[in-house]
Amino acid sequence: MIRVDNLVKSFGGFRAVDNASLEIATGSITGLIGPNGAGKSTLFNVIAGVHAPTSGRVTMDGEDITGLSPHQLFHKGLLRTFQIAHEFPSLSVRENLMMVPAGQTGETLWNSWFQRARIREEEAALLKKADEVLDFLTISHLKDEKAGNLSGGQKKLLELGRTMMVEAKIVFLDEVGAGVNRTLLNTIGDAIVRLNKERGYTFCVIEHDMDFIGRLCDPVIVMAEGKVLAEGSAAHIMENEAVIEAYLGTGLKNKVKSDEQAEVMADESHGAQPGLGDEAGTGEAS
């Protein structure tokens, strides 16, 4: 279980995460949603050790993991994917997966010279595993392609694929869905559920696709302006007025404003109360 207590992360004077506290229960698929700039990715990055928190605490199964570096967290079973895909461009797709598992014999220089047989064995096993994952992600035809040449969506798949190479306790997925074909996203969703059920992975998922969230996640945590705005089941959240106002909106409205009006309103709302809520306010006013 991951527990975040009063976490604050500021950039200069700006509090991207502002005193957020939340819990991700073991075995759950927790959704994390919120308007753009709510601080979701920043929260992820703090938990995953990319940024040091300004203040606050993160614990995992009761153990304080605040400020541990990413590679230490990896060894504790905490994995993450990136919102903007971070592949290894000059490695082949398969190598991108094979490099993941920790503690490979061949990762020590000494062994690379004197333990060749054992390395060969391990590599064969890894190769098999990587190919399975690639099959699963429907990109096995690209296994020898350099990862740098993949399409945007394919890179996203590769991100997910890497988490499947090891036994993870908890996986943080930062918008795996963005730019991924919906049919494929459904498959990914199924895979997440399966990993959750069969292998006991805990997931924390940032996503803007509400169908996906609705299908997969329970509970769902909503963030806005660095704070936790609401928490509950997906259905429950989608009814929540504040969430609708700040995040979901009311669907296609086909509103056509005159530009002058819009400008005035934009200025007013900016002066009056900066923040994302205004957007919905503007919408309502028209």
């Binding site: 753009n36 919102q83 040449n149 700040a246 995040y247 296609l252 530009d259 994302l276 957007e279």
Partner: protein
């Protein structure tokens, strides 16, 4: 002849072709949406239309003129605007400077357009002095679209403009796209939020492996169960 007509495009990055006779066309004031699986060549097709990919075959005409041989910046001056899928902001320039750069070819006063963009994406106004590289993913996407709008193009090409933006902003964005189209600007966009996109599309293309699989009106594609199942996620 259509306003934009990219006929029979064939080409790729290296030796192997990615596009195999792909054809796209948009009329004036029309919204055309391209959907398809990952790696189908959608972005590649967009780049080809914009002259960022050498074509081995096919031609691109724009406003009745053959532009196959023009460089991207010449196409910009002809009135084409493009938001790429990735790397679509100037990371160490402020939001406002990003927008100004969008208006680079304009010699008139563009402060009004900036105001319009801020109106569309209020968060950008708030962050206008911040470097675009320090924005959240969705905010960045908004900057990218805003930058393209600044050119006041007669054809706007968007590669997954809604990837990573929140539902409310997405709705807003689609609204604005409709609005832009109504003003007579043609829109060609790639979308993975395909159902919403096709709802507003006059024309839809389904691209598979660098070739057109289905071409129809947005509604018709949405209604086709085969298309829905295989490409739109049911």
């Amino acid at each position: 002849m259509s306003f934009l007509n990219a006929a029979d495009m064939t080409g790729g990055y290296g030796k192997a072709d990615i596009l195999h006779g792909c054809t796209l066309s948009v009329e004036k004031g029309e919204i055309a949406v391209i959907v398809g699986p990952n790696g189908a060549g959608k972005s590649t097709a967009m780049k080809a239309v914009f002259g960022m990919l050498p074509l081995r075959g096919g031609s691109v005409t724009f406003d009745g003129e053959d532009i196959t041989a023009l460089t991207p910046q010449q196409r910009v001056r002809k009135g084409m605007g493009f938001v790429p899928q990735v790397n679509n902001v100037f990371p160490t320039m402020t939001v406002e400077e990003n927008l100004e750069m969008g208006a680079f070819i304009r010699t008139d006063d563009f402060s009004h357009t900036i105001a319009q963009v801020y109106d569309l994406f209020p968060i950008l106004k708030e962050k206008r002095r911040q470097n675009a590289g320090e924005l959240s993913g969705g905010q960045r996407q908004q900057v990218a679209v805003g930058r393209a709008l600044m050119t006041r193009p007669s054809l706007l090409m968007l590669d997954e403009p809604t990837a990573g933006v929140s539902p409310i902003v997405m709705d807003e964005l689609f609204d604005r796209i409709i609005e832009v189209a109504r003003a007579g600007i043609s829109i060609l966009m790639v979308e993975q939020n395909a159902r919403q996109a096709l709802e507003i599309a006059d024309k839809g293309y389904v691209l598979v492996q660098g070739a057109n699989r289905y071409t129809d009106t947005g509604e018709a594609l949405l209604a086709d169960p085969e298309v829905r199942r295989t490409f739109l996620g049911g």
